[in-house]
């Protein structure tokens, strides 16, 4: 059993007592026996220490001493609450930000996918940079050609996206669905959590409709209902059976709610899909044959692609520069997020550096105040190690609390950052707070604590000034003062980098948000009424839309109703985001010149009035522009100006030249509408051609112009549509203004995250500058007293301190500006979207920073001017 101090003392006392007894028994007198026994024993304390050392290792003692020092530190910090709280909060912000970003980086970039054998999973993409198509996907004939020519890939999986109206789970609703072939799940290496996935037996036009639910849809929309397998559901006009639920996995290329077999989509079985080489809507995945390298597969696929292009030159115009890329799936999924996350990591690291240098400053200032105490301890025999241990204990206490608070702060930060990152990588959706967070937090705190303990210089026991300081007064040495200033300047510089970045982002956002769009934003309500089928234009369907328009138009508070096929900005990602080639009367493109391309829109009469877009020439569509009457179109002003420079586009004809439209149909231009941009948030001028619904039969978007509150119209509109059709989905009702805000949400989140970082940095830097100046003032109390005594005015002292603060800020901002531009230039070399910040936001950032810092230096400056002369002179 390990003896305690008392046991050891008892044992020694027993020894001495026996020794004395024996001596007395031999005839010595009590006093000399006692002395002799003690003499014989030797150094009692030393012996006891050696006995103790047998049981207690030296490091245990050191740890115990550190624990004692920490308790002392805690007590002494509780007397300096302001400082302690500042340090803890500063560190918490720095540590929290880093821990949060790191969790996301780890979750998105470093963790492997759940897919079995993900290292053999490749993603094959066709792109046509010449016409701005970063992903032109594949058509069925192309996939057939590639499959036939490649041996380094074991199996291919096909995935395309389509919108269905899902009937059978509560209200009819529009869902985004993946349509896949039977080998898709096998290729992707995914497993079901319930039921089964789709297999090759689900392929072909005679298979039964089968649907797999994604894990997210199953858990959120269906409450993880275990009885869902076997349920029959309606997909538009067809029916299908739920066969299983997919395990949680990264949804790529599209975040769909269900995944169905090909037979559920009439479109996929149609001749257009199966035979037309330019009808591209399928994403292609492959699984490498064991032993085959991705380079092999790439070479083989590229060769097959080149052969395919040369045998079908009409499908691959030279100008499109069609090409093929093969990437590991994981790289493909994480690639867009990588630069953004790395930039965020840099921002977080900057915040940490700022936080640490600020804390270092505060600790440095504090240790200068403690120089007296430390000098006394050094003079009494404390070693340098022991003094460092005292400092380390204190910084450990501070950093420990900082890390604790930081980890607590990191939790909400993770969700913000994950949402932010989700825009670039779907993997961010599954990022969770995990143990790494704690480790990162603890690691950063330890690093900070050790750094901080070594910032202050220790007093030398030999230096005579050491004891002079013990009187409790504070005097700042030039070295300390320089270090304080360097730290403060560095903080300002780094904060400026962040602040300038955030200001640039905000300026861009504000510009986008306030730019005129050409639409009446507040009064127009847009509602999705997805069509059950795509573009067949059955009389029933047209009749349905006709009735919807009429009945809603007669509601009180409705100024106008129209249908379209695209809600501005919201639908720009879908199949109508692109442009289609066309030709106009009187213009024959010269050889090699690209045909003009325009956006295709389908609207009903009144559409332009409802959305507030003026018709600048000609007329609007009327009810007489119908199926069998003369084909007519309205074009945008840009198109009219560009293709009919002589000024009169009216009554000329145009026709689509894309093979999708079959035999060209000439259409007469009956009107010219003002330019609007329903795709880009930053308004761009694009050519657009509008068709009347009765001649193109693609719609699904309802626009209602309200005279009062647009949202008050949502319930009656829904009721009318339900009356007409029980299976029609009615969704996403929003004013154009709100649609735009919603589409801008990622940008706003973006600005919000960076502004958050910048705000934190600003706060820390301001605290830092104020702290340095305040410390300087308190260290120079005597000097101020003397100066006041010999005739300086308080005003002069105040201005002196302010100018000192201003100098720190000016130097910091200058250094920061250089750093910011250098950083932007370097980042710009790697990330295309990084632009050098504009002048205005940078100046704004500088002003904010300077203003805040100068305001922060007012407090210490005021204190300097209020120094009491007598007290100051007596203070030493």
């Amino acid at each position: 059993m390990r003896p305690n101090q008392h046991d050891l003392d008892e044992e020694i006392r027993g020894h001495l007592a026996i020794s004395v007894q024996e001596r007395i028994a031999r005839g010595e007198d009590a006093e000399s026996a006692r002395l002799a026994a003690l003499k014989e024993f030797g150094n009692v304390l030393l012996t006891r220490d050696s006995m103790r050392r047998v049981w207690h290792a030296r490091w245990l003692d050191a740890a115990a001493a550190l624990g004692r020092d920490m308790r002392v530190g805690l007590r002494s910090l509780s007397r300096a609450k302001g400082l302690a709280i500042t340090v803890v909060v500063t560190l918490a912000l720095g540590i929290g930000a880093n821990a949060a970003i790191f969790s996301v980086v780890r979750g998105v970039l470093l963790r492997p996918l759940v897919n079995r054998g993900e290292d053999r999973l490749v993603y094959i993409r066709q792109s046509a940079p010449g016409v701005g198509a970063a992903n032109s996907t594949f058509s069925v004939p192309e996939i057939v050609d590639l499959r036939a020519a490649v041996s380094s890939i074991d199996a291919f999986g096909e995935f395309s996206t389509i919108d269905f109206t899902l009937i059978g789970f509560g209200e009819p609703r529009a869902v985004k669905a993946g349509v896949v072939d039977g080998s898709y799940f096998e290729v992707m290496g995914l497993r079901p959590v319930l039921g089964r996935l789709l297999a090759p037996s689900d392929d072909g036009p005679n298979a039964a409709g089968a649907v797999v639910l994604t894990y997210r849809f199953w858990t959120t929309a269906l409450d993880s209902d275990p009885t869902v397998v076997g349920r029959a559901i309606g997909l538009g006009a067809r029916t299908a059976t739920v066969v299983g639920v997919l395990e949680p996995s990264v949804p790529y290329p599209a975040d769909t709610e269900i995944i169905a077999n090909i037979v559920t989509s009439p479109h996929h079985l149609g001749a257009t899909m199966v035979t037309m080489r330019t009808h591209r809507m399928t994403e292609l995945f492959g699984r490498l044959r064991p032993g085959a390298s991705i380079e092999e597969a790439r070479a083989e696929l590229r060769a097959a692609h080149a052969a395919m292009m040369s045998s079908h030159p009409d499908a691959y115009p030279e100008k499109a520069e069609t090409q093929l890329s093969v990437t590991p799936l994981r790289d493909q999924i994480t690639a867009p997020a990588r630069p953004v996350l790395l930039l965020l990591l840099v921002a977080a690291a900057l915040v940490f550096v700022i936080a640490c240098s600020n804390v270092a400053n505060l600790i440095l200032a504090r240790s200068v105040r403690r120089e007296g105490e430390l000098a006394v301890r050094a003079a009494l025999g404390a070693t340098h190690g022991e003094l460092r241990r005292t400092l380390l204990a204190e910084s450990l206490v501070l950093c420990g609390f900082g890390a604790l608070l930081g980890v607590i702060l990191a939790r909400p930060m993770v969700s913000v950052v994950a949402q932010f990152a989700a825009r670039f990588s779907v993997r961010a959706l599954e990022v969770t707070v995990d143990g790494t967070l704690l480790w990162v937090g603890a690691g950063l705190a330890m690093a900070a604590a050790v750094l901080l303990a070594f910032v202050p210089r220790l007093p030398s026991a030999h230096a005579p000034t050491g004891l002079a300081l013990a009187s409790g007064s504070v005097r700042m040495t030039p070295g300390t003062s320089r270090r304080l200033r360097v730290f403060a300047t560095a903080q300002i510089a780094f904060s400026f980098v962040l602040l300038a970045g955030a200001a640039t982002l905000l300026a861009t956002l504000i510009a986008v948000q306030t730019a005129p769009t050409g639409y009446d934003m507040r009064r127009v309500l847009a509602v999705d009424l997805p069509m059950p089928t795509l573009g067949l234009g059955s009389p029933d369907e047209m009749n349905f839309y006709q009735q919807v328009t009429e009945r809603i138009g007669s509601l009180p508070g409705v100024d106008g109703v129209a249908l379209g096929n695209v809600v501005p900005w919201r639908d720009s990602e879908g199949s109508f985001g692109g442009t289609v080639s066309f030709a106009v009367e009187g213009q024959t493109p010269t050889d090699g010149e690209a045909p003009p391309r325009a956006r295709l829109r389908v609207v009903t009469p009144g559409f332009f009035d409802v959305l507030g877009v003026p018709i600048v020439a000609g007329r609007d569509f009327t009810e007489d522009d119908r199926r069998r009457s003369e084909p007519v179109v309205i074009v945008s002003r840009r198109l009219a100006q560009q293709l009919f420079p002589d000024g009169d586009a009216l009554n000329r004809t145009m026709w689509w030249t894309d093979p999708y439209f079959g035999k060209p149909v000439p259409r007469r231009i009956v009107g010219v509408a003002a330019d609007v941009d329903d795709v880009n948030l930053v308004r761009d001028v694009a050519m657009t051609v509008y068709h009347p619904l009765q001649q193109m039969w693609v719609t699904g978007r309802l626009f209602v112009r309200a005279s009062g509150d647009p949202y008050a119209l949502v319930p009656p509109i829904t009721r009318i549509i339900r009356d007409l059709s029980a299976t029609q989905a009615v969704e996403r009702a929003a004013t154009l203004e709100d649609v735009r805000l919603e589409v801008l949400a990622p940008e706003r989140l973006n600005a919000f995250v960076l502004a958050g970082f910048a705000g934190v940095a600003l706060l820390i830097a301001v605290v830092g500058v104020a702290g340095v100046l305040a410390f300087g003032v308190s260290a120079r109390t005597r000097e101020f007293g003397v100066r006041l005594a010999v005739g300086s005015t308080p005003r002069e002292l105040l201005l002196g301190i302010l100018s000192e603060g201003t100098r720190i800020v000016a130097v910091g901002i200058a250094a920061g500006a250089v750093a910011a531009y250098a950083f932007a230039a370097v980042a710009g070399a790697f990330v295309a979207s990084v632009q050098l910040p504009g002048v205005l936001p940078v100046i704004a950032a500088a002003l904010i920073l300077a203003g805040a810092a100068v305001a922060a230096s007012l407090m210490p400056a005021a204190r300097a001017s209020r120094v009491d002369v007598l007290q100051a002179l007596r203070s030493e």
């Binding site: 003896p3 046991d7 008892e10 044992e11 020694i12 027993g14 020894h15 007592a17 026996i18 020794s19 007894q21 028994a25 014989e40 024993f41 030797g42 150094n43 030393l46 012996t47 050696s50 006995m51 050392r53 047998v54 049981w55």
Partner: protein, 119 residues
């Protein structure tokens, strides 16, 4: 602190001191003072064990599991800590005795190469 000379002497004595303590305790439990006296008496006053070495050695041996300690009272009715040999301590003693004999033999051979066998 003046530890170094002590430490060195302890180092030199260590093996032997352990052996002497273990051997002394073979006759029965004894307290620290008694052990010191016994070694001194049995060596005819040639060996005098410093208390500064004895007590740390006792604790070291106890920590190693060769001794066990318990509080008791001396003949003169003084409370003292008594040490007693454990089973592993006994085994250790015989090991140390063997090693000591070998050492003595080996050193004897080196110092007196012509002598044969034990002295």
């Amino acid at each position: 602190m003046a530890k170094t000379p002590d430490d060195r002497r302890l180092e030199l004595l260590q093996g032997t001191l352990d052996l002497l303590i273990l051997r002394t305790l073979q006759w029965g439990p004894q307290h620290g003072h008694g052990i010191g006296q016994a070694i001194r008496g049995n060596s005819e006053d040639l060996l005098k064990v410093e208390t500064g070495s004895l007590y740390p050695a006792l604790h070291r041996l106890e920590k190693a599991g060769w001794l066990k300690s318990e509080w008791g009272t001396s003949e003169a009715n003084q409370r003292a800590k008594f040490y007693r040999l454990t089973a592993t301590g006994k085994a250790q003693l015989s090991r140390e005795q063997d090693r000591w004999s070998q050492l003595v033999y080996a050193i004897g051979r080196v110092l007196n190469p012509r002598a044969t066998g034990e002295e």
